[in-house]
Amino acid sequence: MLGRHGNNLFWMARYLERSENIARQIQAALHHALSREDEGEEEWASIITSGGSRKIFDKKYDTLSTTNVINFLLRDRDNINSVASLMSKARQNGRSVRTSLTQEVWLSLNESWITCEAALKTPVNIHDLPVILDGIIKGSSLFRGALYGTMLHNDIFNFLRLGTFIERADNTIRIVETKYHRLLPTAKVIGGSEDQSQWEVMLRSLAAWRSFNWLKKGRLDPLGVADFLIFDEQMPRSINFCYKMVRYNLEDLSNFYGRDYKSLGMAREICLKLTNDRAKNIQIINLRDFITKHIAKNSQLSLTIATDFNLN
């Protein structure tokens, strides 16, 4: 496979995952905003902050109103991480590697892009929001389904999955980062229903609200949430789960190509560290430090994958 194609596949998957994550975060914040009396400015602010685009936002908009934020996150072309920008880039990458995709995978991508372009052509108001967000998330699910159901599970598949899980790990880490102060053991003392709703937003934006309730019998304590989002081995968006998948896919590639890779060593190390950390009492982990290190490790891993496989 061409190194450039590997790169296109990896980034196509990253962009798609990112746009799905943004849609989920908006969905959760919207749910939060609609369940209270003010506009829920703080939630909107935290989505923009966790996506790293606060500066661009402040340059263009005066207030963190719902309309400003959703338009910025969904359709602003000046925001390289808006859903519209990401979908265009994902499709561009997809077009570059059409020969590596089955017709069904390509169709799901192209159709999502067509739907997205049409839905985001004019400013979005809150009335259309649920349908648009559902559309984005469904498009992503369709893509995943086509991928699993029709593609050969070979190196092409592995590069796509690597992109997905590197991006997903990054997303979960950043969500935890923006809200880590609410996950600290001391947060419990502050308590109150207000903080509970914060944890709910966090879980909802990772599609994990129901599974958390199911596993933890609805006991919404901050350490339980932190443990779940970081260490849970079954939750497909926990940091632990994402790295397990990164490791799997790198092992696959290593077997497929018959070589050993530096990135595989890194992924193994991260997984081992997570297992060790989990064994400790979560109360003694310095959450702030833990998160900062993981953001750095994740981007280092992404770069190493690119070097190992000539992704250029």
Binding site: R4, H5, R98, W106, I114
Partner: protein, 469 residues
């Protein structure tokens, strides 16, 4: 004006169209229009689009697809097929001669200046014969028709002809929309084209290697024909590469892969000569691969088509094709050329200037229908402006009579309406055989009365059937 479907523009179908005309009679116009919208959706979702340079607003466009097929009988096709094979064989012999020996110039058949002063002539190719003496692995011969038995070659596309993906996609769209028509008609299949292309390219390399590594070389996703490049690579099961994926190592062409590099044996290149290799051709080009041409001349890679084939499809050379066929094949050309006035010659120029309002004038080195004057459709001001251009630079132009091109009906809101068409059959050349895929791409001018069929100028396409035995 000759309509290919209906006898003298009546309601009665010509022979090859009899079944189709009676089928059409049973169809509800609204239902057909719905199918037309469905077909458009299909093209958009599959992403069968083309890019228009400098058109930011609509970066990718659809080529309008008309549902009414164009039909040729097996007898009509035999005439075309024989003529095309003869013509393409002569073109390859001509290229081999032009770059090795120049007998045709020595014999005084073609003026030396026309070759040596031609921009399409590549001196770098002199003294080199590509494997199997194949220069034009893929050719698209544009054909127009004026009557039941009157076919003319409009031009030969011997460089990087495009459009074959539309031929194939049009067919599969029609099969999807109207399966019943395919059971009632005996239509010659075309779906083997990608496999034929692969085999034809592999055959050229097989003097050296049994299982050659073939790639398609594209300028990238912003090229107008990118869809076609990816389609062909996909259908052939080969890599779709860009210049930046290639490097030359010890004189061999390599592609950069996820595990290192891999040798390439055949490059089906969909980029122009100028962009192949900045060392041998356009030094400013960023698209090419330095050293590619040396690897080619050393026999380490096959380029399809060979560089320098443009000298055979140049509009100035076009008018000599009957002589070229006579010279190399010892036969009279089976397919006619359109009479052509070379404006470089003084007496031709004065004739052209006097009859400008009834002629089509084309740039010798132009393509895509750009920079062309259609006399009968031009305003006085346009004619005057073109007269100036002609006088200033007569060598740049050739002129042809405006032919009464045949029509085939298209589907409109108000029912069927005749529109002018041309035909581009696709030809594959390997060392021992020349193969023409039955039918080809029919391009149709969608505007009433228009003679310009180019997709870049608002033309559409039709599925093209060769039926019967």
């Amino acid at each position: 004006m000759f309509d290919e479907m209906l006898c003298d523009h009546s309601h009665e179908g010509r022979k090859p169209y009899e079944k189709l005309v009676s089928w059409l009679g049973e169809q509800d116009l609204n239902k057909l229009m719905e199918k037309s919208v469905m077909a458009e959706d299909l093209f958009r979702h599959v992403g069968i689009t083309f890019n228009v340079y400098g058109d930011k607003e609509a970066e990718e466009r659809l080529i309008p697809f008309d549902l009414i097929p164009r039909i040729l009988s097996a007898d009509e096709w035999r005439i075309l097929e024989r003529g095309i094979i003869q013509r393409v064989a002569a073109i390859n012999a001509f290229l081999n001669d032009i770059y090795n020996g120049q007998q045709i110039i020595k014999a005084g058949v073609i003026p030396a200046d026309l070759i040596y002063k031609n921009k399409a002539f590549l001196p770098q190719m002199c003294g080199f014969t590509p494997p199997g003496s194949v220069y034009t692995h893929v050719v698209g011969v544009d054909i127009v028709r004026t009557g039941p038995n009157d076919f003319f070659v409009l031009e030969d596309n011997a460089r990087v002809p495009s459009g074959v993906s539309y031929m194939l996609e049009n067919r599969s769209t029609m099969q999807h929309m109207f399966p019943e028509l395919f059971t009632s008609h005996q239509i010659k299949p075309i779906s083997n084209y990608p496999k034929d292309l692969y085999n034809s390219l592999a055959l050229c390399a097989q003097t050296k290697i049994d299982d050659p590594n073939i790639v398609v070389l594209t300028p990238g996703i912003y090229n107008s024909a990118y869809y076609e490049h990816s389609f062909l690579a996909d259908e052939m099961g080969v890599e779709l590469v860009q210049g930046s994926d290639l490097e030359i190592c010890d004189g061999r062409v390599m592609i950069r892969t996820t595990t290192g590099t891999e040798t390439v044996d055949v490059i089906y290149r969909r980029i122009d000569d100028d962009f192949l290799d900045p060392l041998s051709f356009d030094s400013k080009s960023l698209l090419g691969t330095p050293g590619l041409f040396d690897a080619y001349r050393n026999g380490n890679v096959i380029l399809a088509n060979a560089p320098g084939t443009g000298i055979a499809d140049d509009k100035a050379i076009y008018s000599y094709i009957p002589e070229i066929i006579k010279f190399y094949m010892g036969e009279k050309a089976l397919l006619n050329n359109i009479p052509t006035w070379r404006c470089a010659e003084a007496e031709n120029l004065s004739y052209v200037l006097d009859h400008l309002h009834e002629l089509v004038v084309k740039e010798v080195h132009g393509s895509g229908g750009y920079g062309m004057l259609v006399g009968p459709a031009a305003s006085k001001r346009e004619l005057a402006a073109f007269t100036k251009k002609l006088k200033a630079n007569p060598g740049k132009y050739v002129a042809q009579p405006t032919l009464a091109l045949s029509t085939v009906p298209i589907l409109t809101k108000h029912g069927l309406a005749p529109r002018h068409v041309d035909l581009r059959p696709f030809v594959l050349v390997s060392p021992d055989t020349i193969k023409v895929t039955p039918g080809g791409l029919t391009r149709v001018a969608l505007k009433k009365g228009s003679l310009v069929v180019n997709s870049s100028q608002g033309g559409g396409t039709k599925d093209t059937w060769v039926i019967g035995s």
